[in-house]
């Protein structure tokens, strides 16, 4: 090998194949374009809500925002968020700590049971409590129902962090002379802080966006006020103003979460190098711990299951054309599956781009796409409605609009699933495949897509199952005359036909069970032995 600086550049460019030197990665430009387009579409709701709100003009805006209604709504929303947030943090962390750090018996069963309340949609939770105990309503009713239905959102990520983090930090703290309580407070809790903050964020966002449960519990929040303004008063300007305030609240929460999470320590070692510690022996505390878990699961899962069973048995006397429920299930699934296909297909380019290029643009695109997650469902639905009314009148109250609404609403779910499956793909396989003479599209078809197929499946399933139990956006976007399980259920419950509503609630819950199992397995890592371990 000699290094020569003076070699003259060759005069002719000799080409190897039919196509000459490619013009600067032609294929490399399509992906960012598509990814950017998708991010733009998912960012649209925010734009439309703002646009619509400005239509009302300053005068009416001032009038509306200056009314005591806003203060009431703010107080209702913030106080409920504070109480439910605190309660879910305590319950979620407590349950996760008992299961992951102590020798509590039957851990696997408790894990599944503790996560399962997520399978019951919030408005079905509300229905179950209200139909059994008519006194459950107002602030404390809402706090009880929302806490028992949302605490798994804290439980799951905290359990995941506790499971993955290395126990040696806790052991070192013990060796430095700290007692168990001090270790819990000074080591375990700070380690779980990002997960706690993330969980609290999700709880708050769900609270902000929830309509059905609050309507049922007769508790006024932004979401119920927006819905009332839009559906009964046909006051789109007021509705979008309120939605804008709601979006601002959501973004504020997102900002707060970002600060808290960043202050928390990162887990230094996780995954395969982490070593689980010896579980803390509960000793005489085993019975109280079991009783606490039973009380939690009994309240959050037992009550809904009992209520559904009760009304299914009671309601069978009321005449119910059993054919209609299957037809509705089919309609619901049709919409949900289509939306899932659209959302998953849209998630692939964004995830791929962010995975391949760790550039500022790629990160920004991905973050924009995640931003929708912070938008309350009702705001997204409203934005889609405005878009249709203004720019796509023929689409208004047509099936494609509902599909688009679902796809935009649940895009972040799909993106998360696709992204995490891409993270499992060994680095460099795409490069190697290309060096073996495979064109970019073939690489996608022969290597990348087969490798992320499980992730695509997970994304598809999560979106489909979540969309099939969606109520708020469906009420706003469903074509005239079309009912889904959720809207039919809603019609019955608003007429206080508890028995008639039960089968729909039961089907929706049953549809959600696989989604929750999937989520639990994905969050906690399941039982699969990591690939490295078999090497």
């Amino acid at each position: 090998m000699s290094t020569t600086r003076s070699t003259r550049p060759p005069r002719t460019l000799v080409h190897p194949g039919p196509s000459p030197l490619s013009q600067r990665w032609r294929a490399g430009r399509v992906l960012p374009l598509v990814a950017g387009l998708v991010a733009l579409v998912t960012a649209c709701p925010l734009l439309f809500v703002a646009l619509e709100a400005t239509q009302s003009g300053w005068d009416s805006a001032e009038r509306l925002l200056g009314r005591p209604l806003i203060v009431t709504l703010l107080w209702h929303t913030v106080s409920l968020a504070a109480v439910v947030g605190l309660a879910t943090l305590v319950l979620g962390f407590g349950a996760a700590w008992l299961i992951e750090r102590t020798d509590l018996p039957a851990k696997r069963t408790w894990t599944v049971l503790a996560a399962m309340p997520l399978a019951v949609p919030e408005f079905v939770h509300g229905y179950c409590w209200v139909s059994l105990f008519p006194t459950v309503q107002g602030f404390w009713g809402a706090a009880l129902v929302m806490t028992s239905s949302l605490y798994p959102l804290v439980f799951l990520p905290v359990a995941a962090v506790l499971r993955r983090s290395d126990a040696s930090t806790e052991e070192v703290a013990r060796s430095l002379g700290h007692g168990r309580a001090a270790v819990l407070w000074r080591v375990t809790l700070p380690q779980a802080r990002p997960a706690l903050a993330g969980g609290a964020l999700l709880v708050t966002l769900y609270l902000l966006g929830e309509y059905g449960a609050f309507a049922m519990l007769r508790y006024t929040t932004f979401a119920t006020a927006i819905y009332t303004q839009f559906e009964t008063a046909f006051d789109t300007a007021s509705a979008s103003l309120l939605a804008l305030v709601l979006v601002a609240l959501a973004l504020l929460v997102l900002l707060l979460e970002g600060r808290t999470a960043r202050r928390g320590g990162r887990v230094v070692r996780e995954g395969s190098t982490a070593r689980p510690g010896r579980p803390l022996p509960l000793g005489g505390w085993t019975r109280p711990a079991l009783a606490a878990m039973a009380a939690l699961v009994g309240t959050a899962l037992g009550v809904p299951v009992y209520a559904l069973g009760y009304w299914l048995v009671r309601g069978s006397s009321t005449t119910l054309p059993s054919a209609s429920i299957w037809a509705l299930t089919a309609t619901t699934l049709g919409y949900a599956l289509t939306a899932a296909a659209v959302a998953t297909a849209a998630a692939v380019p964004v995830a791929l781009y962010a995975w391949r290029r760790d550039t500022r643009l790629a990160r920004a695109l991905e973050r924009t796409a995640y931003l929708t997650r912070a938008l309350p469902g009702i705001a997204v639905a409203l934005a889609v409605v405005f878009f249709a009314i203004r720019y796509a009148q023929p689409l208004y109250q047509q099936p494609p609009l509902l599909v688009v609404g679902y796809a935009v609403l649940f895009f972040p779910l799909a993106l998360t699933a696709v992204r995490s499956s891409l993270a499992q793909v060994p680095h460099g396989v795409e490069d190697v495949a290309r060096s073996l003479g495979t064109a970019p599209l073939s690489v996608l078809r022969r290597v990348t897509l087969p490798l992320i197929l499980p992730g695509l499946g997970a994304a598809f399933a999560m979106v489909a199952l979540t969309a099939s139990t969606e109520l708020t956006a469906t009420l706003l976007l469903a074509p005239t005359g079309t009912d889904t399980l959720a809207t039919q259920f809603w019609t019955y419950t608003t007429g206080l036909a508890w028995g008639a509503a039960a089968p729909y609630a039961a089907v929706m819950t049953a549809l959600s069970v696989p989604a929750v199992l999937l989520l639990t397995r994905r969050t906690l890592g399941g039982t699969r032995i990591p690939r490295e371990a078999t090497r």
Partner: protein, 368 residues
């Protein structure tokens, strides 16, 4: 197969220049090694040659095909340049046979199966074609990755620290095997590594890289015994850099007058390289010449002893010298008589330049 010529290559990551006017030539059928510390740009060099990273300017030529001239470039899949990354990057969803056959034309089934069998034989994995990557050991995975890269008969094969993820014993075995397999296949290959032993064991030619350029290129022997400067000398192994008065063919040092190797050096004050093997220790009471130095410490390494020595400050020697001896050295603190044998090699750069001095870039062409 044909050789690689890289001329005045520049490449950037964002705004920072990673390759800064790099020149490199690898002859047809040669196994070359690019040796350099992490962060010197050696992986980027491979990625530019493979077509995964664009060159900012300069040319990359394989045989008579220009692959990249800074403006237009051949797509990675049309280059016929094989690539073997650090972790092998096997396709986890495909069997070993399908991995190896990935780059072969899909239409010609029979020929494909034949070539896969041939490759399995070459890397010594006959009978494992139906396994999946996760059922193989780390060494076997790397062998499959090599077979996969060689199967389509690339004109050039790039190996990016392919042995670094393996444990020490396996690493030594595998690099010998891989070098043998590459020679058997007649491949032109470039191995990138930061491990000197690997470079010396593997390559016909070594290029020492630093700061986005090739500091010096040559045969392992040339680089080891006749490095262009102190840094190259240290990159190839432990080096004693001894100040000397150069006088055409001899060098007078504190350890005596030594013949100079190679071409006559410039006269005047300079610096010579003495490898640890060139230093001899003798008991103080033994008659003869030699400088008195102190033993600071020693390590027994199985095949020899590595001895650290310190000389008086006024002797003009660096404050730490290293010698390798076959006999057991005296205890730390005792004095020994130190002599040097064999020809010394004069390094360019001013006298007294120590290891910590700023890097002097030597024009690469001066090495030949």
């Amino acid at each position: 197969m044909s050789g690689l010529t890289v001329t005045d290559l520049h490449a950037r990551h964002g705004h920072s220049a990673v390759l800064d006017g790099l020149d490199l030539t690898v002859g047809d059928g040669q196994l070359a090694c690019v040796l350099g510390p992490s962060g010197c740009g050696k992986s980027t060099l491979l990625r530019v040659v493979a077509g995964f990273h664009p060159a900012a300017s300069g040319t990359v030529t394989v045989g008579d095909r220009v692959l990249d001239d800074g403006r237009r470039r051949v797509a990675a899949e049309r280059r016929r340049v094989g690539y073997l990354p650090q972790d092998g990057a096997l396709f986890p969803h495909l069997t070993v046979a399908a991995n190896i056959g990935f780059g072969l034309p899909r239409a010609a089934r029979a020929e494909r199966a034949e070539r896969v069998a041939e490759m399995l034989d070459l890397v010594g994995l006959v009978g494992l074609g139906d396994r999946h990557p996760h059922q193989l050991s780390g060494g076997q995975q790397q062998r499959v990755a090599l077979a996969r890269a060689l199967a389509p008969r690339p004109e050039l094969l790039l190996l990016d620290e392919p042995f670094s993820a393996l444990d020490a014993a396996l690493r030594i075995d595998l690099r010998v095997e891989v070098a043998a397999a590459l020679r058997q296949a007649g491949a032109t290959a470039i191995l990138v590594t930061h491990d000197v032993d690997e470079a010396l064991a593997f390559a016909d030619r070594i290029a020492v890289m630093r700061g986005g350029r090739i500091a010096q290129a040559g045969t392992p022997d040339e680089l080891f015994h006749r490095p262009a400067d102190a840094k190259v000398a240290q990159a190839l192994g432990e080096a004693n850099l001894v100040p000397a008065d150069l006088d055409g063919r001899t060098a007078s040092t504190a350890l005596g007058t030594l013949p100079l190797a190679g071409e006559p050096a410039e006269n005047g004050a300079g610096q010579v390289l003495l490898r640890p093997r060139q230093l001899r220790l003798a008991p103080v009471e033994e008659p003869g010449s030699g400088l008195l130095v102190q033993v600071v410490g020693s390590q027994f390494r199985g095949h020899d002893h590595r001895v650290e020595l310190s000389a008086d400050a006024d002797s003009g020697l660096p404050n730490r010298l290293v010698a390798y001896t076959d006999a057991s050295p005296p205890a730390p603190g005792s004095a020994v008589r130190l002599t040097a044998t064999g020809p010394a090699h004069a390094l360019s750069g001013s006298a007294g330049e120590s290891a910590g001095a700023p890097t002097v870039y030597v024009s690469a062409s001066s090495s030949r």
